[in-house]
Symmetry: C2
Subunit: 182 residues, 2 copies
Amino acid sequence: MHKKPEILHRKTIVQTRQFSVESLSLKFQNGEQREYERLIRGKGHGAVLIVPLLDSETVLLVREYAAGLHRYELGLPKGKLDAGEDCLTAANRELQEEAGYAAHKLHHLTALSLAPAYMEHCIDVVIAEGLYPSKLSGDEPEELDVVPWKLDNLPALLASGECTEARSIAALYLCQDYLNKT
Amino acid sequence: MHKKPEILHRKTIVQTRQFSVESLSLKFQNGEQREYERLIRGKGHGAVLIVPLLDSETVLLVREYAAGLHRYELGLPKGKLDAGEDCLTAANRELQEEAGYAAHKLHHLTALSLAPAYMEHCIDVVIAEGLYPSKLSGDEPEELDVVPWKLDNLPALLASGECTEARSIAALYLCQDYLNKT
């Protein structure tokens, strides 16, 4: 395994309401020095992505406005952890806020990074089973559409052009593998 | 389908060497107004992720230092498009720079978003076949390890903890589907 480059200097250079950018001065083991910028999590407590299984063949998706792309995106429910909250508790809360269901069984599957080259952010993936109707009001500006989707019909979901987020797509395939194993 | 919220106001509030943050004032169709921040691509020309197939069962991964997580990450080669470059040309260039191979056949599979809620960024996914040794020197601070991996052994890759990036994981599964279809 490689030895990590040495951090010669690091400094938060920008802080907005939502984003923190850090500059990083690095020396690699071969002597090369480089300046990087990366997004750090700042004051965030982490995030969670939920794969809600209505039954062993059907997942619940939500259609939500996505400001980054300025269009509606169909994907898995997700959200940020509140202070002091663990990822299973956050998953069950977000599931109730976004999809109107709670889960009897929550299973932490894995964690995914977004763009490890320049983002510190990771998201925990939680599989939710044993769903029952339960609604909490969240901070969403409008109600989300809840769309049941058959797990064996992922190609049609991707072909729709409405589901483009790598984290949702990866989690759906990982859930398939998880169900095939159990 | 939903009608998109109206953009009342938008403004670039931060610009660093690598990141541009925009504030967005939105009015949803139900009258709700919200302030968002999002990362915009700024002066970038897009990015490409390559799935290099050494043969129909084997993909080439690279192990590269990832500043966001400050550790080495094993994943698919990728990089930014240069000005005026299309994504297939960029894919073949990055493949030669990062993995030491060029491809006779390049196929644009899809585009993936990262975090559509707060990032404008998307990445084109290109499958590279008919590989032959060809090395270009890039801007990497050090040589990358090139690691052949069997596509039917993705669970071991994920269990290794070295491959966490949602875009790489999604693209590997999408490539499996592509190969099963063709």
